[in-house]
């Protein structure tokens, strides 16, 4: 048995099972990441309210949902809840589990990037008479987003891979599909390389979007590092 067999690799690459799994992975990732960002942001905002109760809730929420393995959450949603009378479909359990387990990570990222926006920005906005939600939406979020996007890229890749765990509740996505192929021919590396290639494609697309976003931001924010950014384009006369 050789280290690597190209024909197996290409056979897997366009296998219908894999393509179906890929599609499941993509929509599941995008949907649950979106939901997790919404939920995580709400949790982070609650955590910023300066009261014993809200801070306690925040820390408890983050600690609990981060510590609980996704596997446990999925098994719980799929197999323990019915015994308490709540019967979720497989897809519902997968979506809720993936959303819940991702939300605390998003919350921490949002919290950290909000705190990167200087206090003076809050004061200047308040002085104009803006309400907290307006300030958040138009002043603080746009500035925090610059800081949040790279770690959120991490989460995207993570979620892409985390979806593989839904196989424990009988859903088949990209990773499980490739794993299934290995059963018949024992070709682990070839099959998993196919999954890797698709992951790479998905992250490459994300990276392109992220680069475009960072380029846009560079209009108003110059990040001076070891080297200086010269020849900045301006609209000055």
């Amino acid at each position: 048995m050789n280290v690597w067999d190209w024909s197996v690799f290409f056979h897997n690459l366009v296998h219908p099972t894999i393509l179906t799994g890929l599609w499941t992975t993509i929509w599941l990732t995008l949907l649950t990441l979106f939901l997790a960002i919404v939920l995580g942001t709400v949790v982070a905002l609650i955590g910023r309210i300066d009261s014993f109760l809200t801070r306690g809730f925040y820390q408890g929420y983050v600690a609990f949902f981060r510590a609980t393995p996704l596997l446990v959450q999925l098994v719980f949603l799929y197999s323990a809840l019915p015994q308490m009378g709540i019967r979720l479909s497989v897809v519902e359990a997968a979506i809720i589990g993936l959303m819940l387990s991702e939300s605390p990570y998003v919350a921490e990222i949002v919290r950290s990037s909000l705190s990167a926006v200087p206090t003076a920005q809050w004061e200047a906005s308040r002085a104009i008479g803006m309400r907290p939600l307006t300030i958040m939406r138009f002043i603080v979020f746009p500035q925090a987003l610059r800081i949040a996007v790279p770690p959120l890229g991490n989460e995207f890749v993570r979620q892409l891979k985390n979806t593989s765990l839904v196989s424990v509740i009988s859903m088949t996505e990209l990773f499980r599909a490739t794993d299934n192929l290995t059963q018949a021919n024992f070709r682990v590396l070839e099959a998993l390389s196919v999954a890797t290639l698709y992951y790479l494609g998905a992250t490459a697309i994300w990276t392109l979007l992220q680069n475009a976003f960072e380029k846009r931001n560079s209009r108003w924010f110059a990040d001076t590092g070891v080297q200086k950014t010269e020849n900045l384009k301006t609209t000055a006369v």
């Binding site: 200047a124 002085a127 104009i128 008479g129 309400r131 307006t134 500035q143 924010f221 000055a236």
Partner: protein, 267 residues
């Protein structure tokens, strides 16, 4: 010496305002009353509490005790017989709309162009339509001499240019009271005058103003009354001509001597 000038017709009225940061008391019972349309200059050495006073009026700081009234409305809190209660952020926001503020350190929104900074209040607080806000914003930028920098981001502006945008941004809300925290400290004399002209125009239209300043010329010519603060207290207040030219307290005399002292002590 300091007197609680509790005139009943006052438009802005502070009574015994105390502000403590932890153990450090930055304002030690300040009482001020300002009539509608009056311009007040706040002078005093560094650290005397001028900025703190302005921030308290704009409710950016919650005062430790005392009351602040604008017209008939108490600002920042609700004092009843049963005690003081801080107001909700929503009510505070409405109160701040009426009180414009220009900061010592500009605090422009870095991710918005100069024009967007100026129109941010009308657009995001007043929900004015974009076209009208834009037109009004361009007028204001022209008034502070920056019409050609409308599309520049703050980081592409010099310090003085940034401060002028900040003034235009505050004026865009057409507030009832304007607070200036050293509005001209980063401006060159020529621009100072343009800006002072703008400020004077605004004042002539009936604006009530408080201006913390180190520019004695400005205090002298653009304010009706001057308040001299030191160590969190009002040491002397009165008509600007009186306080600045013939102060009653030794401390104020000494402070003002420092101003001309630049000239006096040099070769």
């Amino acid at each position: 010496m300091t007197m609680a000038t509790d005139s009943p017709g006052a438009f802005l009225q502070l009574r015994d305002v105390v502000k403590a940061y932890g153990h450090y008391v930055a304002l030690k019972g300040v009482s001020v009353s300002v009539e509608k349309g009056q311009a007040i200059a706040l002078i005093g050495p560094s650290g005397s509490g001028k900025s703190t006073l302005l921030r308290c009026i704009n409710t950016l700081e919650t005062i430790s005790s005392g009351t602040i009234m604008v017209g008939d409305e108490e600002i920042g809190a609700n004092t009843t017989s049963s005690g003081r209660k801080k107001l909700s952020e929503k009510v505070l926001a409405r109160q701040r709309e009426e009180i414009g503020m220009v900061f010592q350190s500009f605090n422009l929104f870095p991710h918005m162009t100069a024009l967007d900074n100026v129109t941010s209040g009308p657009r995001l607080v007043r929900e004015q339509d974009a076209g009208k806000a834009r037109k009004q914003g361009m007028e204001l930028l022209a008034r502070v001499g920056l019409a050609d920098k409308a599309e520049n981001f703050p980081r592409q502006l010099s310090g003085g240019q940034q401060q002028r945008v900040a003034i235009a941004r505050a004026l865009a809300m057409q507030p009832r009271i304007m607070l200036f925290d050293e509005p001209t400290s980063a401006l060159d004399p020529e621009t100072v005058q343009e800006v002072l002209n703008v400020i004077r125009e605004v004042r002539d239209s009936g604006m009530t103003m408080l201006i913390a300043t180190h520019e004695m010329d400005f205090a002298r010519h653009a304010s009706d009354r001057t308040i001299f603060m030191e160590a969190g207290q009002i040491v002397e207040q009165g008509a600007s001509s009186k306080v600045l030219f013939d102060p009653e307290t030794e401390r104020c005399r000494q402070f003002l001597a420092g101003l001309t002292g630049v000239e006096a002590t040099t070769h």
